[in-house]
């Protein structure tokens, strides 16, 4: 069950409101929830303890913020502390004076070392380097073959030999020198940290090649074991960094925090898929969101980019910006979004959703969504382009064709019309970098608020623009410290966003003003 942390905090932290400061005693309840959330996220128990104490130190005695609820304030502090721990110095890759620069990969079985080795090779190649892959995993059947195939895909040569891992590594390094390669990436077999023999072997491999960078590959879904494993590898090999893999799953990834705390070395890279290109620098702020269960919107966007047809999405985005979002566009988008997964599932991943909204998300039956789709499909293209054409007899036909009732068709049309009005009313430059704030505060806030409960919904549907804006705003902002999350998205190129995200009330608290003329001027194309 997706349950935003600050929602839980709101329930327990009632006492926090009564005084002007966050006192230690008051914090206890809040921190207990934080502890639970972190444990649910697979952060190791010892790390949770020290982390919670650090947050306590940060929060105790803090003056209550004017714009945040106490619960949100605590979450913000937690978020900031998370980003601080996860981030810090980045791994600076400096190249050896006498090439090649040697990189050694180690980790448990199945963590993703071989795929990561190839990804690293590709990454370096794209940086203009000349890497060699060395396959020193002679344990797993066909491991070298796998590396060879991946190497081909990356366009990087692979060296191996059926001798023994230490010899192969050493010979690989020689080969790299002989060929004038400037980076040598050594893949090793997965091994248990408690396997003395194999840990001794990897130590000998390390001695043989004297790596400049020893990186531990960790699976993002690792549980409490992360610390024991990382500690053992660190003691044996003196790690320089960590690579986190399989971040395209939905594991919260607390192992990242555990490993970072215990090893103290930067998490250098994040692997986000099975393709060689699914490899990126690690973003501490995104990881912090994810660990706190606040949804990883940017990853969702990335996933959306990958699965959804880009052209379709862009076309619809353009249509939206120009205020001419039609039912056709809607249908196209709906189909794209459904490729991503169940709608309820997607909803859960979006932050800034109020509790009511998320409850609604849980209740979404994808069959209902199919019904909406069916109604739109039962329309003719001209009807979709201009719904005002749809008279009584057409409604009947559409209802019959989609297996619904005319009331359903009516409702859909009415709501779509209102949505269109809202989109158009946002104003010029309303959507675009920085402008999503407007969307967050005004339109989207309204949307979120509208969706945030039957009460508000009834009020809103009754007459758009009549709702009490303060209520709507608060409904949206209730959902997680990143109530402004969606608004924050618009900032810059969307790669990073401010940690924590303060929840701002709806912009200007003003009713959704419709601009005279109703049209949005199209943004300048870059």
């Amino acid at each position: 069950m997706f349950d935003a942390l600050s929602d839980r905090l709101e329930r327990v932290a009632g006492r926090l409101r009564s005084r002007g400061r966050l006192s230690e005693a008051d914090l206890d309840d809040a921190l207990r929830e934080i502890r639970k959330a972190l444990l649910d996220a697979d952060v190791e128990l010892g790390v949770v303890r020290s982390f919670v104490e650090a947050v306590r130190g940060r929060c105790a005695g803090e003056v209550l913020s004017k714009s945040l609820t106490p619960g949100q304030q605590v979450v913000k502090a937690v978020h900031e502390e998370l980003v601080r721990v996860l981030g810090g110095e980045t791994l600076k890759v400096t190249y050896a004076s006498r090439p090649p620069t040697v990189v050694l990969l180690a980790g448990l079985q199945g963590s993703g070392k071989t795929t990561t080795a190839a990804k690293l090779a590709l990454w370096w190649k794209q940086q203009g380097r000349n890497p060699l892959l060395v396959g020193a995993d002679l344990q797993r059947p066909a491991a070298v073959e796998q590396l060879r195939v991946l190497g081909s895909q990356a366009g990087v040569s692979v060296y191996s030999a059926p001798t023994d891992p230490v010899a192969v590594a050493a010979a690989g390094l020689d080969e790299a020198r002989r060929l004038g390669k400037d980076v040598c990436i050594v893949d090793t077999a997965g091994r248990l940290a408690i396997d003395e023999e194999l840990m001794e072997e990897v130590r000998r491999i390390s001695s043989a090649v004297a790596p400049h960078y020893t990186l531990l590959v960790v699976d993002a879904m690792t549980g409490q074991d992360a610390v024991a494993t990382a500690t053992a590898f660190h003691e044996t090999l003196a790690l320089d960094g960590v690579i986190l893999t399989k971040l395209d799953g939905d594991a919260r990834g607390g192992a990242a925090l555990s490993v970072k705390e215990v090893v103290g070395r930067p998490i250098a890279f994040a692997s986000t898929g099975e393709k060689l290109s699914d490899f990126d620098l690690f973003h501490p702020d995104r990881m912090a969101d994810r660990i706190l269960g606040m949804g990883d919107v940017l990853s969702l966007i990335e996933q959306a980019e990958r699965t959804m047809d880009r052209e379709t999405v862009e076309r619809s985005a353009a249509a939206l910006m120009e205020g001419r979002f039609t039912l056709d566009d809607f249908l196209e988008q709906l189909q794209q979004v459904r490729k991503l997964g169940s709608l309820g599932g997607i909803m859960k991943m979006l932050p800034g959703m109020s509790k009511e909204l998320r409850q609604a998300a849980d209740q979404i039956d994808d069959r209902e969504v199919s019904r909406v789709e069916a109604i739109v499909r039962s329309m003719t293209p001209s009807e979709r382009a201009d719904p005002s054409l749809i008279d009584g007899s057409r409604r009947l036909r559409i209802a019959r064709g989609s297996g619904t009732a005319t009331q359903d068709v009516n409702q859909l049309l009415k709501q779509f019309r209102e949505m269109q009005k809202m989109m158009r009313g946002i104003g010029p430059g309303g959507i675009g970098p920085g402008g999503l704030g407007g969307l967050g505060g005004g339109g989207m806030g309204r949307l979120g608020g509208l969706l945030g409960g039957r009460k508000a919904m009834a009020g809103a549907l009754g007459g758009l623009g009549n709702g009490d804006d303060a209520d709507l705003a608060s409904l949206l902002n209730q959902g997680g410290g990143t109530g402004g999350g969606l608004s924050g998205l618009g900032a810059g190129t969307g790669t990073t966003r401010s940690a924590g995200g303060t929840a701002k009330p709806a912009r200007g608290g003003a009713k959704n003003k419709k601009k005279k003329g109703g049209r949005v001027t199209p943004p300048k194309h870059r």
Binding site: L39, D40, L45, L108, Q109, G110, G112, L122, Q126, R140, P141, A142, A143, E145, Q146, R148, S152, Q153, G155, S157, E175, L179, A193, D219, T222, G223, Q224, D225, K246, D248, G249, D250, L276, I301, E305, M308, V313, S316, A317, L320, M321, Q333, L334, K339, M347, D365, E368, V369, Q411, Q415, F416, M419, I431, L439, L447, G448, L451, L489, T493, G494
Partner: protein, 430 residues
């Protein structure tokens, strides 16, 4: 229609944000250059990067999927056999182990070797008064074992109640009670009322799917052995958990038990996955059916079932590619594989979810999602020979009534033992 607003909100929201970030991201995409050939090394021949299905394939009923390239015949198998023989000889020299041991070791024996004596929570033994520290210790032991907050809280709350009502007195009794509770949780039987009551299978059967919900039979692996029917055991799970290795180990076990086993290399995506399974086939004396790399996995499984029926193999072990349950298209692909495998003469009698003991709370999510998709019948818990305790399976059994049937304890062909709840819990609490 609340749904409409929600749909519109999500669609609009995603479209806008995706559209915005797409524009800015596009500039940053770097092209992948062509591979170069380097003399002196094996020149990289560039195989096409296999693509995962982007369209959900709904084959429904009807004709079997179009045949892909015929399964790998003699030359590849011979090659693999040579390589495997060399490897096996090397292994034998090193280990002196030639055949499967006459008696498979028990879980208790294996874990005992890995973890030392089962000491239980030493601090609790002999403790008279139960104080806050006691409960902290218990909680810590459970959480560290990946049992999870919800299950831990439920267990401890119940124990607290029983201590308060004097049902339990003293540390030894408390520890005993905890142990008993945990073992009980693992012994939850799956009650089956036929295909309609799929609730205990861990969720409704997906609408539109026409597979029969298979009733698990305790912890043994179901094998019907009906003439004219090929038993198929399907192996599913996320990436890197140990599916292929488990298939290999089971091939060893079943061939040693006298069954004729055919492996289906249903992982057509991962580089060299077919080779990996071929080596296992050679090592264990099982036959194998492979398809073209990047081909349709359902076709491979279909071919395997056909061949098994024609040649009279008893059992098909079907490996599949690792896939995250969050990827809708891949889950659809898996559903199709199951459907195809379940068509006569095939019958899917086991769908084994392979779970990694090092996985944390996500294990429960995996179990839930995979069971909903393909109606898993049991769990294989792998990598339990490490430091991870694998406590996540307690919640899996508790919430989904999905039994752990086998435990993997290493990378060798004999490192597979039946699940023993008592031994498992003893190790967990140690």
């Amino acid at each position: 229609m609340v749904v409409l607003w929600i749909v519109l909100a999500v669609v609009v929201g995603l479209a806008v944000t995706a559209g915005v970030t797409t524009r800015s991201r596009r500039r940053r995409r770097r092209p992948v250059t062509e591979p170069e050939t380097r003399p002196g090394l094996r020149p990289p021949t560039k195989p096409p990067e296999p693509t995962r299905p982007t369209e959900p394939e709904r084959s429904g009923t009807g004709a079997p999927p179009a045949r892909m390239a015929p399964p790998a015949e003699a030359p590849e198998v011979a090659e693999a056999l040579e390589a495997a023989e060399a490897e096996l000889a090397e292994e034998e020299r090193r280990e002196g182990l030639v055949e499967a041991p006459a008696e498979a070791p028990s879980l208790r024996e294996r874990l005992g070797r890995a973890r030392g004596l089962f000491s239980g929570l030493r601090s609790l033994r002999g403790r008279g008064a139960l104080d806050g520290a006691t409960w902290d210790d218990l909680e810590e032991a459970l959480l560290r074992a990946d049992v999870g907050v919800a299950t831990t809280d439920a267990l401890l709350e119940d124990l607290r109640r029983r201590v308060a009502s004097k049902e339990i007195a003293g540390g030894d009794q408390l520890l005993g009670a905890l142990r008993a509770d945990l073992v009980d949780l693992l012994e939850v039987e799956a009650r089956w009322d036929g295909a309609t009551d799929a609730e205990l299978a861990g969720g409704r059967a997906a609408p539109g799917d026409d597979h029969e919900v298979v009733a698990p039979v305790g912890r043994s692996l179901r094998f019907d052995g009906e003439p004219g029917v090929v038993d198929v055991w399907l192996f599913v799970g996320v990436n890197g958990v140990g599916k292929t290795t488990t298939v290999g180990k089971l091939a060893r076990r079943e061939t040693a038990a006298g069954r004729s086993v055919l492996l289906a290399a249903g992982d057509t995506f991962r580089a060299a996955a077919g080779e990996q399974l071929s080596l296992w086939a050679a090592r264990t004396g099982a036959e194998i059916v492979r398809g073209a790399e990047g081909g349709d996995p359902s076709a491979v499984v279909f071919d395997a079932v056909q061949r098994a029926a024609a040649r009279g193999n008893d059992l098909v072990l079907a490996d599949t590619a690792g896939r995250l349950h969050t990827k809708v298209n891949l889950v659809e692909e898996l559903k199709k594989i199951r459907r195809v495998a379940d068509r006569p003469p095939g019958r899917v009698t086991e769908v084994l979810l392979v779970l990694d003991a090092t996985t944390g709370q996500n294990g429960l999510v995996q179990a839930r999602e995979f069971t909903e998709a393909v109606a898993c019948t049991g769990v294989v818990l792998t990598k339990l020979d490490g430091t991870a305790k694998g406590g996540g399976v307690v919640a899996v059994q508790r919430e989904l009534a999905l039994p752990v049937k086998l435990v993997g304890l290493g990378e060798g062909p004999d490192d597979l033992v039946p699940f023993d709840p008592a031994a498992f819990i003893d190790a967990l609490l140690s």
